[in-house]
């Protein structure tokens, strides 16, 4: 029976390894609940043209909004948290408010980059606010109102690294970002970097800290947040490059949504709703709010 005992010991050892691994992977940012009640105006009895999608949503009293769950500051939901946090969910609340819907009546749906268009086309969600860059190709199949936020990607490197000062130093360097993101495609195609894709930004930051990659790239505001957490180990270098224009996705079956979204975004940007949303999320690590973008006209 000696063999048997060894087998059990091995199983127990494997189980412990599994448990340790789980513990490691779970820590992703902090899940501070921003009890959002009352941050943004909720229109008491919104008036929409009968039969329009806005009237339908307002009538239903709930709206389905697709956001990212894995991008701190942009759209993030910690394990066990009730609602996602970040600039995208905040802007979702602003839009819901204009439809007469309270923040807690929003149905949040996790969307990843690959399923944003199908979710809009199939009606799984009413709006997508998921670091959703406006592109001509996407506008062929879904509607995109905005941009409400214009950003550029930056570089995060080790604090003692002087060899990378900007994107032009990336030739042949290993640069980490989320698999499938626009940022990683840009550094590979335009600056000749070797792409290293991971599932989340925090994994990339871990790989940077242990020296497995030379740089991490994504939205500058997100990187500043990480740099602020560990200023001795990592730093943001160079000016932002590339331009990402975040828009609100909607279904082309309801083109009337565009005018509504543009009006809402216009008010949010010229009033203080956007500033509030920014300060609570990306602005927390001391970032300045970006210049107010000009909205694209509706088609």
């Amino acid at each position: 029976m000696q063999l048997k005992r060894t087998t059990w010991a091995a199983v127990a050892a494997a189980a412990m390894l599994v448990l340790t691994a789980c513990g490691d992977a779970g820590e992703d940012g902090d899940g501070d609940d921003t009890g959002a009640k009352g941050d943004y105006e909720v229109v008491a009895d919104p008036d929409f043209e009968a039969g329009s999608r806005m009237a339908e949503i307002a009538e239903a009293g709930t709206v389905k909004i697709g956001v990212k769950y894995d991008q701190p500051g942009i759209g993030f939901k910690a394990a066990g948290a009730d609602a996602p946090t970040g600039i995208d969910p905040e802007m979702g609340k602003v839009i819901a408010g204009q439809l007469g819907i309270e923040a807690e009546d929003i149905e949040w749906v996790e969307t990843i980059s690959a399923n944003r268009e199908p979710f809009l086309q199939e009606g799984t969600v009413d709006f997508v606010l998921a670091s959703y860059s406006i592109t001509d190709d996407r506008r062929k199949i879904v509607g995109q109102a905005g941009p409400y936020y214009v950003t550029g990607q930056s570089l995060l490197v080790a604090a003692d690294d002087d060899s990378i000062k900007g994107p032009e130093d990336l030739e042949g360097k290993k640069v980490c970002s989320v698999t499938g993101s626009t940022s990683i495609a840009t550094v590979e195609k335009e600056y000749g970097a070797t792409p290293a894709g991971f599932d989340t930004y925090s994994e990339c930051v871990d790989q940077l800290k242990n020296g497995s990659v030379d740089a991490v790239t994504t939205d500058g505001a997100i990187l500043l947040g990480y740099a602020a957490e560990a200023p001795d180990e990592i730093k943001v270098v160079g000016e932002p490059f590339s331009e990402e224009r975040y828009g609100v996705g909607y279904s082309l079956e309801s083109p009337e949504l565009c005018e509504f979204l543009n009006t809402t975004l216009e008010e949010a940007l010229s009033g203080d709703a956007f500033q509030t949303a920014f300060d609570k999320t990306l602005g927390e690590s001391g970032n300045e709010a970006p210049a107010t973008p000009t909205l694209d006209p509706c088609p």
Binding site: A10, A185, G197, V213
Partner: protein, 215 residues
């Protein structure tokens, strides 16, 4: 089909990376798997124990967790070989457990009289394995080994989220950039994997015909 005409090199670079992963981890799995299989049928109890523990450990642990342990555990203790070698190690050692079991099945399929004949000729264990048992066992195990390597081909797609720019990584990039061509992208990438798997099946078929035991 803009995604292919705009950036055909990315498609092939992706599958080249997938192939490299497959070949490297496949070779590692063959070597380690054979050693473990031999250990499991060895007349030495300690070797048998080690073989059993190996199979139990690596076959029962999900591949994703093995990769996580390699990526986050090893650098903690100062070992860092780079993404390609680390993911190859995890996949190779994982697949080795399946290779070992397939080969052990083949070994057990060899009639005991053959081993007895070899031993009675004075061949030691290693020579019996090398000259009599393993050559025959490998014939029996071609079909199950082909299945193991086909599974490995598909498992390599996990590397896309671990710093390797393989075919699945390229697929996610294409999906982000060419929103209007989703179906074509899925089919195009699937086709690449199907081709690799078909080559493995064909190779297995050739081996089977070539090595067929004449009865």
């Amino acid at each position: 089909m803009d995604f292919l005409t705009d950036n055909p090199d990315l498609y092939f670079k992706g599958f080249w990376e997938t192939l490299k992963l497959l070949l490297a981890s496949g070779a590692l799995a063959m070597v380690v798997g054979t050693v473990v299989a031999v250990a499991r049928v060895a007349p030495v109890p300690i070797l048998r124990g080690v073989g059993t523990v190996y199979v139990a450990l690596f076959r029962n642990t999900p591949l994703l967790i093995l990769i996580l342990i390699t990526y986050y555990g090893l650098p903690e203790i100062g070992i860092d070989f780079g993404f390609f070698i680390m993911v190859t190690m995890a996949m190779g050692l994982y697949t080795a457990a399946f290779v070992a079991e397939a080969i052990r099945a083949g070994v057990n399929g060899i009639q005991v009289g053959q081993v007895e004949a070899a031993r009675s000729l004075g061949m030691p264990f290693t020579l019996t394995m090398q000259q009599v048992v393993l050559p025959q066992a490998f014939r029996f195990v071609v079909p199950p080994l082909a299945s193991v390597f086909i599974a490995l081909t598909k498992n390599t797609s996990l590397a896309a989220a671990f710093g390797i720019a393989d075919a699945t990584f390229r697929m996610k990039g294409y999906l982000n950039e060419y929103a209007t061509e989703r179906v074509a992208i899925f089919l195009g990438i699937a086709l690449g994997y199907v081709v690799i798997v078909e080559v493995i099946s064909f190779g297995a078929h050739m081996f089977e015909r070539r090595w067929a035991v004449k009865r």
